[in-house]
Amino acid sequence: MRYVDEFRNPELITKASEEIRRIADPARHYRIMEVCGGHTHAIYRFGLKDILPSNIELIHGPGCPVCVLPMGRIDDGLTIAQEPNRIFAAFGDMMRVPGAKGSPLEHKARGTDVRIVYSPADALEIARKNPEKEVIFFAIGFETTAPSTALTLMSAKAEGIENFSVFCNHVTIVPAIRAILDSPDMRLDGFIGPGHVSTVIGCRPYEWIAKSEGKPVVTSGFEPLDLLQSIVMLLRQLEAGEAKVENQYKRVVPWEGNGAALKAMAEVFELRPYFEWRGLGFISQSALRIREKYAKWDAESRYPVPETRVTDPKSAQCGEVLKGVLKPAQCKLFGKECTPEHPIGALMVSSEGSCAAYYNYEYRKSLVTSITAVA
């Protein structure tokens, strides 16, 4: 398969892992955060931890939009949608995510009309086909998915489709990285920068991380070779005492980002003064809301929003795991009360969440001490 197999070539991967061992100073411990949940998932799926030297520690970052969504937002969206003649549309990622009153799939079993869509444009199509119903698209995601929501709202406005609205939960990545760097218990050496987000925003928004914080950033693709090459690039900078932003994912990410996508976002969205992140708390100017001129298509203006607040159980240590202070399995609930089938904390709900990825791909390996490494 083109554009995939080249980046999974075992020989090149062996070479990259040898290069990492050659550059890494055995006396030094490296803490590298991969910001994006897609990277976390890939690292576990491809078993990359097994081929990295033990002094390179990967810390899983906040870049999983499902994980950082406060539970109350799910309840709010579903409360609006459970009225008769309404349709709740969302990505498959959202379907098993529990609100305090159940997940979208549980609401579906109780009678809410819940549809899985692959893009917001599909949700708009449902609205076109069902003029007697009101369709609410539950929008989630970073800058990766926000442009498609923006374009869909622009189409809805242009066509005058009035039985469609968006419950907007879009968030932006840079404030979350800032919140993590501001955390006093955080010690990081560098960042594997988000790939998909950067296709939209480009690499420039990370420059402050290199300049003011002195940490290197390498924007990375999602295949095993991409990730290993990004680690090589980070190690080279760290060993040379440099801190700059580099782009490993050049085949997809333009340095300046995608102008058309940014323009659509600016047309439709503005920054919220603050927004709650599950596990991280309130972060100022970290999320998007729909501008006044699109208020007709903004579910939050159109319907009364209960503004449910659900606090995670105190015993769930999501914040510490999210900031890399604790490893998933060090949380008191991990694998006991909190599992992918019955998630309690944020990071267990999506397969990109570090707890779920760790549980699915790694956890039981760690229970067995006699497991032989497969060379």
Binding site: L48, K108, D122
Partner: protein
């Protein structure tokens, strides 16, 4: 609901109720079975063949309907009837759309039943069928499915011996549902039981995985993706028979990895035998269309349904013999050994990635849902 009659009845002496295949035990009342199923309502995941399905069968159906007879789950029950042993299975088909590239619900209904018996080490001989038809279903659609069933029965050499028809109101049955039951005669010398699996045994796979599940997903048209794929629905009996003819004493376990895919079938094996199943990712045949769709949708091909493949665990001395027997058939030319059984870590399926890493593969949780962000 499919799995309820797929619980193996351990070989037992004494009185049996032949009709249900359940042992009639005097002691049921003395030791009431524990219902452990605590889910508040039925959701789609309870029918998806993964963890929730297993919870339902093991937590509710088995304790009340099969008290004392639930040691391992398999695709067909073995029943002693009048001194003869027969294999007995039931299945139901609720596929949407009714027709899809490479097959249709009628074909699935026959092949699915034949395959459940085949991987239990039995040759299907007789089937009964129930049609649940929706008011307003075009007769031509029904006729096409009945014809498809007749052709599949002929191909598999199975007789239909009876059936039932119900009609429900419009909007209640997606056109039609089909439910089947079948009996089969055990293949001589084949004894499949997860508890006989030993470390060092080899894991065989009959061909490329994921074709059926991805074909159906794409045929639903919600995704507007296209791929050059067809369902793999076919009877696996000829392959099982060819393998059994030369390697019967070495065959320890078989399963057709339908809903929940290869990962779920192997996890059930790992749990039932208490050992580790280690598979090598690069040895698992997958068509490019399936790989591409899975990459795009964030799905794991190991969790995708198949309707014309089977997995077998064969003792090491018979593994190559079994594989060669499969390779001599057109249908089995892609068969391969994908892994082996290890003693450690227990109850676990381990995948070796092609880069020297390893990962755990769990059963499917819920339905496979496309991942976007």
């Amino acid at each position: 609901m499919r799995s309820i009659l797929q619980l193996r009845v351990p070989e037992v002496a004494g009185d049996l109720n032949y009709r249900s295949g359940l042992k009639v035990s005097d002691k049921v009342e003395d030791a009431p079975s524990v219902v452990r199923f605590k889910d508040s309502q039925i959701e789609m995941s309870h029918g998806a063949g993964g963890k929730a399905s297993r919870r339902l069968v093991e937590g509710l159906f088995a304790p009340l309907l099969l008290p004392g007879n639930m040691e391992t789950l398999s695709d067909a029950a073995r029943v002693e009837a009048g001194g003869a042993t027969i294999a007995f299975t039931a299945d139901s088909f609720v596929v949407h759309p009714l027709r899809f590239p490479g097959g249709s619900i009628g074909e699935l209904a026959v092949n699915g039943t034949v395959n459940d018996l085949a991987v239990s080490g039995a040759r299907a001989c007789a089937m009964v069928v129930t049609f649940v038809l929706e008011e307003g279903l075009a007769s031509s659609v029904l006729e096409a499915e009945v014809r498809a069933m007749a052709a599949s029965l002929k191909r598999a050499g199975v007789k239909m011996v009876g059936g039932d028809t119900k009609v429900v109101e419009r909007g209640k049955a997606d056109g039609m549902y089909i439910s089947t039951a079948g009996i089969g005669i055990p293949l001589p010398g084949v004894h499949v039981d997860a508890r006989t699996v030993r470390p060092g045994d080899k894991v065989l796979l009959s061909g490329p995985i994921g074709d059926h599940g991805i074909t159906i997903l794409l045929a639903r048209a919600d995704l507007e993706l296209e791929a050059d794929l067809t369902s793999d629905t076919r009877p696996v009996l000829p392959m099982v028979e060819a393998m059994a003819a030369e390697a019967a004493p070495g065959i320890r376990w078989m399963r057709d990895p339908t809903r929940g895919g290869v990962a779920t079938a192997l996890n059930e094996l790992a749990r039932d035998c208490g050992l580790a199943v280690e598979i090598h990712e690069e040895d698992i045949p997958i068509h490019d269309g399936v790989r591409g769709a899975c990459e795009l949708l964030g799905l794991d091909p190991l969790h995708i349904a198949n309707e014309g493949q089977f997995l077998a665990v064969v003792s090491p001395e018979f593994a190559d013999i079994a594989l060669n027997a499969l390779h001599r058939l057109d249908a089995g030319e892609d068969a391969c050994i994908i892994g082996e059984i290890r003693s450690d870590p227990p109850n676990t399926v381990l995948v070796n990635t092609r880069y020297g890493g390893t990962r755990i593969v769990d059963m499917l949780v819920g339905d496979p849902l496309p991942r976007i962000c």
